[in-house]
C-alpha cells in the first residue's frame, strides 16, 4: 500500500499548485499531533486547531482534507484546551504516549502524517539560555515506531530542529536515510510580506541585516529563518556559513557606530532600511507617534541589544540585530524586517508581517504547506534551510556564551538550492 500511495501521489502533485489538493485515495489521511502543551496561543493550538476547525484561505473557510486522529500532550495544565478539542472533534483521541498516538493504540504506525510541535510548556533552560524543548526526543520516538512498523510518514517539526546542533544533524540524517518527507521551521518565511516581494533568484547579494526585538534562541530562530529565506535565493544558491561572532554590551554599540561590516559592524544603510519597513517602531520621542530613532534613542530604548554576525562560505555577510529592551525600556522595533544590499548598491528590504490578533493567522500559510507535505510526501521548501538556521542559532548562542568569541563553523557547510517559486503568503 505504501508504495502504491507514493506513486499515486507523485501524479497528484502536479495539480497541487492550483490549490485543489484533494485526497483521492479511498480514505482521508490520518494525522497524529505530538506536542509539549496545548493552551491558548501555544503553537500547538494554532497549528492543530487549523486542522480541526479549518481557517480562512483564498476567499473560503478552508477545511484541510485530512483528520487529526490522535494527540499526545506532555504537559496538561489548568489552561489546557486539548480535552475541549477532543470532546468537540470526535475523530480525535488523546493518547498517553507518543508511540500510542502514532499507532492509535495498536502495534503499527497507523497515521499518514506527524505534527511535532515542541514549543511552549515548562522546560528548563541550560546555562547558555537555550530552552530544552524535547523535539529531538519526540523525533527519536517517532522514528522508533517507523522502524518497528516498517513504514514511514511525512513529519513536520515546528521551529528549529533542536536547541542542540548534534541532535538536529541526527534528525536530518535520519530523515534522509529513512527517506520520509521532512519539513520544519518558523512561520516567518511563509507569512505575508510588505511589500509583497521576494528576492529575484540569482541576485548577487553582498550583505544582509535582519532586525527584531530579541529573545535568545526562541527569538533568534525566527529572524534567522526570515533572513535565510531571502538570502538563500542569491546567485549560486546556499553554500553554508563559515564563521559567527556574537556582540553584546559595549561591543554591540561600537559595532552599531562602526556603520559597516569592514569596520566591525554592519552596513548602517541596511539597518536603516530594515527599520523603515517596520509598522511597529517604538515611540522614541514623547507625543510623536512615528519617528525614526537616533543612535542615542537605540541605546536608550534597547540597552540589552545583541547581534550575531555571520560570514557565509561564498563571502556573503549577514547580521541579525536583536534590539532587546531591559525591564524599564520599551525596545526599538516590534516586528521582523530584513534588508539586503545587492551588487551595485541597490537595497532590498521587506517586512515579515505577523497578524497578532485573535487568531494569529501567520500560522495559516504554514499549515497550508504542511497539508501539502502530508498529501505529497514532499516539503514545499528545503528542510536544509532549517537545518542551517538551527545551526546558526546554536552557534550564535555559543559565541555569546564564549564571551563573544568569533567561532569557525565548519559543521555549517550546508549547501542547498532554494525553490524557484516563492512560498510566502501572497493569495
Amino acid at each position: 500500500m505504501h508504495c502504491s500511495r507514493r506513486s499515486f501521489l507523485a501524479g497528484l502533485a502536479a495539480s497541487l499548485p492550483l490549490g485543489e489538493a484533494v485526497w483521492a485515495a479511498d480514505r482521508r489521511p490520518r494525522i497524529a499531533a505530538l506536542t509539549t502543551i496545548y493552551h491558548k496561543y501555544s503553537h500547538s493550538q494554532h497549528i492543530v486547531d487549523r486542522f480541526l476547525d479549518g481557517y480562512g484561505w483564498e476567499s473560503r473557510h478552508h477545511r484541510p482534507p485530512m483528520d487529526v486522529v490522535s494527540l499526545y500532550v506532555e504537559q496538561v495544565g489548568d489552561n489546557d484546551l486539548s480535552d475541549e478539542r477532543a470532546k468537540r472533534h470526535r475523530q480525535l483521541k488523546i493518547y498517553p504516549t507518543i508511540a500510542e498516538a502514532l499507532t492509535q493504540g495498536g502495534s503499527k504506525l497507523a497515521v499518514d502524517g506527524v505534527l511535532l510541535i515542541g514549543e511552549h510548556g515548562n522546560y528548563p533552560n541550560n546555562e547558555k539560555g537555550q530552552k530544552l524543548y524535547p523535539r529531538y526526543e519526540y523525533f527519536q520516538q517517532v522514528v522508533d515506531v517507523y522502524r518497528e512498523s516498517g513504514r514511514t510518514a511525512p513529519l513536520f517539526n515546528d521551529k528549529h530542529l533542536s536547541w542542540n546542533w548534534d541532535y538536529a544533524r541526527k534528525m536530518y540524517d535520519t530523515a534522509k536515510e529513512m527517506d520520509f518527507g521532512f519539513m520544519a521551521g518558523s512561520s516567518l518565511p511563509v507569512t505575508w510580506r510588505q511589500p509583497s516581494v521576494d528576492l529575484p533568484r540569482d541576485a548577487e547579494v553582498e550583505e544582509a541585516v535582519g532586525v527584531w526585538g530579541g529573545g535568545i534562541d526562541g527569538g533568534d530562530i525566527h529572524v534567522l529563518e526570515a533572513m535565510q529565506a531571502i538570502v538563500e535565493r542569491r546567485r549560486g544558491g546556499e553554500t553554508g556559513v563559515r564563521t559567527v561572532e556574537a556582540l553584546r554590551g559595549e561591543r554591540f554599540w561600537n559595532a552599531l557606530d562602526a556603520g559597516s561590516w569592514e569596520a566591525g559592524g554592519w552596513d548602517s544603510r541596511l539597518l536603516n532600511a530594515a527599520l523603515c519597513r517596520s509598522n511597529q517602531l517604538k515611540t522614541a520621542r514623547p507625543t510623536y507617534s512615528n519617528v525614526f530613532p537616533t543612535a542615542e534613542d537605540l541605546r536608550r530604548l534597547a540597552p540589552a541589544s545583541y547581534a550575531y554576525r555571520f560570514e557565509y562560505i561564498d563571502g556573503l555577510k549577514a547580521t541579525i540585530v536583536q534590539f532587546q529592551p531591559d525591564q524599564k525600556t520599551g525596545g526599538v522595533v516590534g516586528d521582523c524586517n530584513v534588508a539586503a544590499r545587492l551588487a551595485g548598491g541597490e537595497v532590498f528590504s521587506v517586512l515579515f508581517y505577523l497578524p497578532y490578533y485573535s487568531m494569529r493567522n501567520f500560522f495559516s500559510p504554514q499549515v497550508n504547506h504542511i497539508e501539502s507535505l502530508f498529501l505529497t510526501g514532499k516539503s514545499s521548501y528545503p528542510v536544509e534551510r532549517t537545518l542551517l538556521t538551527t545551526g546558526m542559532t546554536a552557534a550564535g548562542i555559543e559565541s555569546l556564551y564564549q564571551h563573544q568569541k568569533r567561532l569557525e563553523t565548519p559543521h555549517l557547510a550546508i549547501r542547498y538550492e532554494p525553490t524557484r517559486e516563492s512560498t510566502f503568503w501572497r493569495s
Binding site: S59, H61, W192, Q194, A273, N279, T287, N290, F292, S364
Partner: protein, 419 residues
C-alpha cells in the same frame, strides 16, 4: 491570481516591483510651502499623525523620507488639554494664525502657500439628528476658496476623510474646485493602505456583486469602509456610473436581507476569510472559525447594519457593519465568470499607524505635481452615499431613490495602495 505583481508586470514599472529603494520624488524638487488647517492637534489625532509626517518625515519604500514640503502656517480650531500645536510650531518654526485666511496668507495680504492640507477630524463638535459629527470641513474649504477668489490664485487642497457630512456641501466643494480649476484630493487612508493579499480589481472587469465588512461607529468608521469599497468597484467595466438607490437596514432586517439574497453570504464568507481578528470563540481561545456559516454571527453582532447601495449600471454593493464579529475591514467581490476576489484593508497598529504614511505620500505628490493621483469624485460619491444611507435610516429604513447622486467618473488605471 490577481496579485499586485501581475498588475506591476502589466504596467511595466521598474525597480519598485521588488522593494528596492527608488529615488523619492522630492529629492530633486525644491521645497514648497504648505498650510495645515485643522480642528485639533492632540496626540493620536489625524492632524498629529499626518501633520507630523510633514515635519519629521515618514517611512516610504524602505527609506525614511523627508518631504520637500515646509509647513509654514497652521490654523487649529480647538486647543483642548493635550494640545500640541504650540509645541510643534515652536520646535519646527511655523506660525499659528487665528483664522484660516490669515494662515493661508501667512499673516500677509496675499495667498502665501503652495498647498493646503485640511484635517477636520477629532475635536469637540456636535452631532446632528442623523448621528453625523458636524466637522467644519466645508467651512474650512469655503474660507480657502474665498482667499483663492480674492487673491486671484489657487493652490492644491487636500481634505481628510469625507468632504462633508452633507452630500450637497460635498457637491459644492467639488464644483468649486472645478470652477476655479485647482487640484483637489480627499479621502480616507484605506484605499491607499497595504492590502492582504495585495490584490486589485482587474481594470475593466465585469463585477456581479461586491460586499464590504467594516466595524466601528457611524459616521466615522462606516465612511472609511464605504470609500474602501468604492476604490475597488470604481475599476469595473464602464467606470463609476452613480448611485440609483440606497437603503440602510439595522437589526434582524440585516440577517433577513442576507437570507433573501439581497446581499451574498458567499461574499461574506470570502470577506471574513480575510479577517485576522474574528471575535467570540476566536477571542476566547484563538481558534479559527467559519463565522459566515457556524450560526454564531447573529449572537456576536448585537447591532448589525447593512448599507445596500444600488448603482446606476445595476451593480449591487453592500456594506455590512459587524461590530462584535471582527475588528478588520475586509472586502469581497464576485467577477463575471464566478471568480471571487477578496482582501483585507490592513490598518497597521497604533501608534505608528503607517497607513497614514501611505496617504501622506499621495498628498505630497499632488502638491508637488499639481495633479490629484485619484479623482475626488471617489470621495464625493462615498460621502454622498453615506449621507443618503443615514437619510434612509431616518426614514424608517426605507429604500430611497437617489437620482441626485449621478456622479460618474473613470478610475485611474494605476494602483496606488501600499508603499
Amino acid at each position: 491570481m490577481l496579485t499586485r505583481r501581475t498588475f506591476i508586470g502589466a504596467v511595466g514599472a521598474g525597480a519598485a516591483t521588488w522593494g528596492t529603494v527608488r529615488p523619492a520624488l522630492g529629492d530633486v524638487t525644491p521645497h514648497r510651502r504648505i498650510a495645515i488647517i485643522t480642528t485639533v492637534w492632540t496626540y493620536l489625532s489625524h492632524a498629529q499623525h499626518m501633520g507630523d509626517r510633514f515635519l519629521v518625515g515618514y517611512p516610504r519604500h524602505g527609506q525614511w523620507h523627508k518631504p520637500p514640503l515646509q509647513v509654514v502656517s497652521l490654523y487649529v480650531d480647538q486647543k483642548p488639554e493635550g494640545d500640541l500645536s504650540a509645541q510643534r510650531a515652536a520646535e519646527h518654526g511655523f506660525s499659528i494664525y487665528p483664522t484660516v485666511a490669515e494662515a493661508l496668507r501667512c499673516g500677509g495680504d496675499k495667498l502665501a502657500v503652495d498647498g493646503i492640507v485640511t484635517i477636520g477630524e477629532h475635536g469637540n463638535y456636535p452631532r446632528n439628528e442623523k448621528g453625523q459629527i458636524l466637522y467644519p470641513r466645508f467651512e474650512f474649504f469655503q474660507q480657502a476658496v474665498k482667499v483663492f477668489e480674492q487673491d486671484q490664485r489657487v493652490v492644491p487642497i487636500f481634505n481628510d476623510k469625507h468632504l462633508s457630512y452633507s452630500w450637497e456641501k460635498a457637491q459644492k466643494m467639488v464644483a468649486d474646485s472645478k470652477r476655479l480649476k485647482f487640484p483637489f484630493l480627499a479621502g480616507s487612508s484605506l484605499p491607499v493602505t497595504w492590502r492582504l493579499p495585495p490584490v486589485e480589481v482587474p481594470y475593466g472587469a465585469e463585477l456581479q456583486e461586491a460586499l464590504m465588512v467594516g466595524v466601528g461607529s457611524s459616521d466615522a468608521m462606516d465612511y472609511h469602509a464605504l470609500e474602501a469599497m468604492q476604490c475597488m468597484v470604481e475599476r469595473r467595466k464602464g467606470g463609476e456610473t452613480g448611485i440609483k438607490s440606497v437603503q440602510m437596514l439595522e437589526g434582524d432586517a440585516v440577517w433577513k436581507a442576507g437570507n433573501d439574497g439581497r446581499w451574498s453570504t458567499r461574499l461574506l464568507e470570502a470577506a471574513l476569510s480575510r479577517s485576522d481578528s474574528l471575535q467570540g470563540d476566536s477571542q476566547l481561545d484563538s481558534r479559527p472559525q467559519d463565522l459566515a456559516h457556524n450560526g454564531k454571527l447573529q449572537k456576536l453582532v448585537k447591532d448589525p447594519a447593512a448599507y445596500l447601495i444600488e448603482r446606476t449600471d445595476g451593480l449591487r454593493t453592500t456594506l455590512l457593519m459587524l461590530n462584535g464579529a471582527t475588528q478588520d475591514f475586509t472586502f469581497a467581490a464576485k467577477l463575471k465568470g464566478g471568480e471571487i476576489l477578496s482582501t483585507q484593508f490592513f490598518l497597521p497598529p497604533t501608534p505608528n499607524v503607517t497607513y497614514s504614511a501611505c496617504l501622506v505620500a499621495q498628498i505630497e505628490e499632488m502638491i508637488l505635481t499639481g495633479r490629484a493621483p485619484y479623482p475626488v469624485e471617489r470621495t464625493q460619491i462615498a460621502s454622498a452615499m453615506l449621507d443618503r444611507c443615514l437619510d434612509s435610516k431616518m426614514a424608517d429604513h426605507r429604500r430611497i431613490e437617489t437620482p441626485e447622486l449621478d456622479i460618474s467618473y473613470q478610475a485611474p488605471r494605476e494602483s496606488r495602495f501600499g508603499g
